[in-house]
């Protein structure tokens, strides 16, 4: 199924615009895209007329030029006819915003649309959804542009069964400086489902991580999802809603009573290296970490800090999240010690977590990270940087990134998210080193790397 028409349409018809009600969803979508995105946009309403001095076409058939994408925002009962007209016109695919299908009990109506589209090989997203935000290409969310917070163009492909969660997650991504390559609200997923979108984002060159918010799968859909996930070369992150036990009332078998829906989901995701995030906050951290390090690690963490307290906090969080803090080898400790500034040689603690103290300078941190990276017991390094220390320069981000890149082991940094430290943060991020704004966040990023490895 080619979804280019949905993610990068050259032209689009918005069906169901109102000439009287300016905040109608279709009007919001039309106004957002017309002359604002590189997509030629046409307004359609059977009554015709004008919208903002542009022609309103009475049907898609009236549009003289070819149309790639139809955005359908008419009442549910009119949707089958409109879809038929779109197919007749040769439109390549649709986003069906309209609600009033299986979510309200009208499964037959939904099936009618699905069958119609399937016969014509006509892909559509929805119904009952926000549709697609494809940065610098198209935006079918019926949320006014001035209200929504859009993340920048980036490398996360995000798919959500809930439009509300999608929009909220975009706010979180934007807040952490994470960009998306595409965000899709699939609603009732009557045609395009998670499995199709794994395939789309897998072949999309701009996507490095594919993330999902999943409420539930239909019959055997979970198995299909796993099959696609296994064939996919990019890390996949999932956030599952509906974790409380259900459907296990019939307890005549021990197995059925211990293998509730969520336990099955969670264990199977882990079995197949799909990184399951426990919370929305984790989802954000996981996406950032895996976009930098798609291969993951086995969770043996070396910690470098300039404050003993931060090292202990991080070690505690690692323990909580199932990450190990192994002892470093004597050789590693000796190599670090022999190169430390004389001022801190007697006060630095070189047991994992390493405390270089507030008197250390850039070179000490670089030295510690370099040799920790070479320690065979360590496969991921957390650098907890407190830029208040006088010995730490604004160059530390770029310099440390260089060390990490030379040594080849994942490095994750914690830097407080303050404007005055932006230069440090950018020093890391421009070099694809993930930066967390809290100690916990840094630990969650390390957890992500472990979760996308075989359990």
């Amino acid at each position: 199924m080619d979804l280019t028409c949905l993610f990068r349409p050259a032209s689009m018809a918005v069906i169901g615009v109102s000439t009287t009600q300016d905040n109608h969803p279709a009007n919001v979508i039309y106004n957002k895209n017309h002359l604002r995105y590189p997509v030629k946009t046409f307004a359609v309403n059977p009554k015709g007329g004008q919208l903002n001095r542009e022609r309103v076409y009475t049907t898609v058939a009236e549009i003289e030029s070819p149309v790639d994408l139809a955005v359908i925002a008419v009442r549910a009962r009119f949707v089958p006819d409109v879809v038929a007209q779109c197919i007749e016109k040769g439109i390549k695919g649709a986003v069906i915003i309209s609600g009033g299908f299986s979510e309200t009990g009208s499964s037959d109506l939904q099936q009618q649309v699905t069958d119609l589209a399937a016969q014509a090989d006509f892909p559509f997203v929805g119904p009952n959804c926000l549709g697609i935000y494809s940065p610098e290409a198209v935006d079918t969310f019926f949320l006014p542009g001035e209200r929504i917070i859009h993340p920048k163009k980036g490398n996360i492909g995000f798919v959500s069964q809930s439009g509300g969660v999608l929009v909220d997650q975009m706010v979180k991504f934007a807040g952490q400086g994470i960009g998306v390559s595409g965000a899709v609200s699939i609603g009732n997923k009557a045609c395009i489902r998670e499995t199709h979108l794994i395939d789309w984002f897998e072949q999309d060159m701009g996507t490095r991580v594919i993330a999902f918010y999943i409420e539930g799968f239909e019959c055997r859909e979970g198995r299909e999802f796993i099959k696609r996930a296994q064939a996919c070369t990019k890390p996949i992150v999932v956030l599952k809603a509906g974790k409380t036990a259900r459907g296990i009332a019939a307890a005549s078998s021990h197995t059925a009573s211990v293998a509730g829906d969520y336990r099955v989901f969670s264990d199977i995701m882990a079995q197949h290296c799909v990184a399951e995030a426990d919370t929305e906050y984790e989802l954000t951290s996981f996406c950032e970490a895996l976009s930098c390090y798609p291969k993951g690690s086995s969770g043996h963490i070396g910690i470098v800090s300039v404050s003993g307290g931060h090292g202990v906090l991080a070690a505690d969080a690692c323990g909580h999240h199932g990450l190990a803090i192994p002892e470093i080898t004597e050789e590693t400790a000796a190599n670090i010690l022999s190169r430390l500034s004389p001022e801190i040689q007697s006060i630095a603690s070189l047991k994992n977590p390493l405390d270089l103290t507030g008197s250390c300078v850039d070179a000490d941190i670089l030295n510690a990270v370099r040799h920790l990276s070479r320690d065979p017991h360590i496969d991921c390094i957390l650098a907890l940087l407190l830029p208040y220390s006088p010995g730490i320069s604004a160059d530390i981000g770029a310099k440390l990134s260089q060390v990490a890149s030379n040594e080849g082991k994942p490095l994750i940094a914690y830097v407080p998210n303050e404007d005055k430290y932006k230069i440090i943060i950018e020093g890391f991020e421009l070099n694809k080193i993930p930066v967390a704004s809290s100690v916990e966040g840094a630990v969650l990023m390390a957890k992500a790397l472990k979760r996308c490895r075989p359990c």
């Binding site: 019959c219 198995r223 021990h254 197995t255 199977i268």
Partner: protein, 231 residues
């Protein structure tokens, strides 16, 4: 692949909704899983002959389509060592509701493990591993994997359990034979893929594991309601 005999067993179990233990074990044995040596009989004499031929004690189990949970009906007698005890229990079990025959089995001992399967709506057949017995639901210390599984999956299942030290042997006690357990779970996972159209859940509880082998001491196969069967 399922043999015509297995299909026949399933078909005949449809009305009851579950497969009687001797037939369930026949299905397991056909898939090369180890089950205890046994005789299915209503005769005290043949039961006594079986006991005499066994090295140790035997277990008696009432076989009745009306008794799904045997312990709740005192339908299992363990540690039967002499012909007199055997005879009196045989008589009692044969008087239980619906019981025409008694399954007389060699008694095996070792670590009790649960090997189970669920036909999950979203994922299809999944395998479950945990410590056996009735406490499995209390501790909920289980590992679940999508079937069919690989030997590496079985290793990771054991590693993920809180009860891992028991499997591996601790405080001088022997653990389970991991090769035997692995082989059993891998074979079982392929069996449940074949049984996907019919089964709802399967409990092999307990599977009794010692340093030499893993034996499915009990087996219960619950079938899907008939409306869900393939046509």
């Amino acid at each position: 692949m399922l043999t015509p005999r297995i299909i026949q067993i399933i078909e005949s179990a449809r009305p009851a909704g579950w497969i009687l233990e001797p037939m369930a074990k026949e299905i397991l044995a056909a898939q090369k899983l180890t089950v205890p040596k046994s005789v299915l009989t209503d005769s005290v004499d043949s039961a006594a002959q079986f006991l005499a031929a066994c090295d140790g004690p035997v277990v008696l189990k009432a076989v009745s389509p009306l008794i799904l949970h045997k312990t709740e009906h005192q339908a299992v007698v363990t540690h039967v060592k002499d012909p007199e005890t055997l005879a009196s229990h045989m008589t009692r079990l044969l008087s239980l509701n619906g019981c025409d025959q008694v399954l007389v089995e060699e008694m095996v001992s070792g670590i009790e493990v649960l090997v189970g399967a669920k036909n999950d709506l979203q994922f299809g057949p999944v395998v479950v591993l945990g410590l056996g017995g009735t406490s499995v639901e209390i501790y909920n210390d289980t590992a679940i994997r999508l079937a069919p599984v690989t030997p590496a999956d079985v290793t990771s299942m054991v590693k993920s359990l809180g009860a891992r030290p028991i499997f591996e042997g601790y405080r001088g006690r022997p653990g389970v034979n991991m090769d035997a357990l692995t082989r059993m779970i891998v074979d079982f996972s392929h069996l449940i893929m074949d049984l996907e159209p019919w089964f709802e859940s399967i409990d092999l509880n307990p599977v009794i594991c010692d340093p030499d082998r893993c034996v499915a001491a009990d087996a219960r196969i619950l079938l899907l309601p008939e409306t869900n069967y393939p046509s």
